[in-house]
Amino acid sequence: MAEWICRTLRDGGLEGEHAPALTINDSITCSLGSFVFDHILSQLSSFIDSEKSQSSGIVLVAFSRSPLYYEQLLKSKGYNVSSSTWFKVLDCYTDPLGWKSKLLNSGRIANDSLGSSVTVKLCKNVKDLDELLSLVLHRGKELSVDGKGRFMIAIDSVSEMLRHASVSSVASILSELRSHGQVSSLFWLVHSDLHETRATAALEYISSMKATLVVQPVDGLRGNSASLSLMENNLKRGKFSVHVKRRNGRVRTMVEELYVENSTVNFTPFSTEDEVISQSLVPKVQFNLQLSEKERNDRAKVVLPFEHQGNGKNIQIYDGRKSLNESKGDSEQTCFEKEDSGRGEIIYFRDSDDEMPDSDEDPDDDLDI
């Protein structure tokens, strides 16, 4: 399913439609969103690198991590981005508010080396979203020779944008990017617990896909050590649920399991571990609360003491007085029991003729106590 998302982003939108957009939501209890972001970024890089994609490059708007980080990330995946022409970074991390350039101008600090060889453009005032928008589009146009090719946009923290600007202005710049003719697709990460619901809802409206990372529910764990292992589990695992909005308004929901190992993300089909949990939920006692397979079979074989067994035979009402006449039949029955010893039986003698055959009625009902 994560593959499916990447393919959708790779294929881009149709002519005259808004570009597909993906929101990745996470929260502090399951903060694996950055891993998912990195995963999608490197997947899309591989598509572009092998020229399988509609777009000719990626513009990365880096708010929460340095351009150097992304360079190393893509290098570790085997793409040399420093010489590539398909990867551009707009750096909103190093100097988002222009403090450094202010200090540099007044001569109070000197060194301004970034240590990154990717072609980086600094954004020095992230509060001015119009400027940010034009910078992003400008970077995108640099990606193709004639300036008309399509490109993808990745924003690594919309939370940071929302800290500096209002919800409406952030939403407007995002939808403007989405409707821009040259943008083939875009995706962004947002920490949903940092914002009000209206902000996350607004972002959801302007995206065609929403991936939410939630803690995998694990029941039956109690105590301090259990909560500790649960915390550790949440640092590595999560439930990756995706809502996809189709053009006609239909919403499709998919769920996968996510596991991070050695900084790489693995997706596996979601398996409900209900059975394991229900087993572990049964309290540990000295006697058996559940039947084994053999016990269950034996129980099914027991013939209940209904005089009418429903097998077409006449009702044989046992009456103590008839014992002599029935002795032959009794011996037959004992023979039958011997040949099928696995069969259980409950023997019941009816008190008197007053009692109706197979009745549930309380024999002492008429007693006035």
């Binding site: 502090i28 990330l73 190093t94 100097d95 508010l97 450094k100 109070r108 600090i109 940092l194 640092l235």
Partner: protein, 256 residues
């Protein structure tokens, strides 16, 4: 830092701090102060075997306080300050950064950031100094200093974090968990937790006060860097007892 062998559970849980810079958030509450963790990390950074330098921004205590505490732990801060291994900014001193000349909080913080970056640059100019640690004690008082603007404080911390990427510094920040409990969003503490690579949480025991256990520490190592080789997110939990000149760390239940 790299050369000092791990000596206790806290050091073990922090792992190898050499190399790339990280941000460590120390989160305490009013019942159990996290000052001892800051002292420990400070002492560790100034260990004679290491070649690290420390830039210390103090909003809560004057230099003499830390000097006395660290001296008991066997580390002479005055000497380290004279060696220029410790750069101490006493933010309580009123004349610092010309704050009386009608400047806004933003100007003051920008100027402070300039001082920090300059200090980092100066420290790097020494051949022997490889690693610089910036310590902030504490963030909530910094917020008070910035007239309650948590956004501004966050901007400042973000800039400090950008130093970790640019110069490979480490950042250690102390913050109080309980002063934000009723504040609505956006929550500074949550933002800091997103920023941090390692969160050290200091809490009292859930069962109440005990004579020989003073509280518990939970160290969450999120380890988000790609180049860390084996990325092992780990959570450690242990208890501590503060003694006169040292702190004892032990696993729950192992204390007789």
């Amino acid at each position: 830092m790299a050369n000092a062998p791990p000596s206790n559970l806290l050091d073990e849980s922090l792992g190898d701090t050499s190399g790339v810079g990280r941000m460590i958030l120390v989160e305490d509450c009013v019942e159990t102060s996290g000052a001892f963790v800051v002292h420990h990390l400070l002492k560790r950074a100034l260990h004679p075997h290491s070649s690290d330098a420390v830039v210390f921004l103090s909003f809560s205590h004057p230099f003499s306080h830390y000097d006395r505490v660290l001296r008991k732990m066997g580390c002479n801060l005055s000497v380290q300050r004279d060696n220029k291994r410790l750069l101490f900014f006493d933010m309580l001193a009123l004349d610092h950064l010309d704050r009386d000349r009608g400047k806004t909080s933003e100007d003051i913080l920008i100027a402070l950031y300039g001082e920090v970056q300059k200090a980092v640059e100066v420290s790097r100019s020494y051949e022997t100094r490889h690693h610089i640690t910036v310590v902030i004690d504490d963030v909530s008082l910094m917020e008070v200093d910035a007239n309650g603007s948590s956004d501004l404080v966050l901007d400042f911390l973000r800039y400090c974090c950008s130093l970790t990427a640019q110069f490979g510094c480490s950042l250690i920040a102390l913050n109080h968990g309980d002063v934000y409990s009723i504040v609505d969003q956006p929550n500074l503490l949550l933002q800091l937790e997103y920023l941090a690579d390692i969160v050290i949480k200091i809490e009292p025991l859930a069962t109440g006060l005990a004579k020989d256990v003073h509280g518990q520490l939970t160290v969450t190592n999120r380890n988000l860097r790609v180049d860390s080789g084996k990325s092992r997110s780990r959570v450690h939990n242990f208890q501590f007892r503060i003694k006169d000149n040292s702190v004892e760390y032990f696993y729950p239940g192992s204390k007789t």
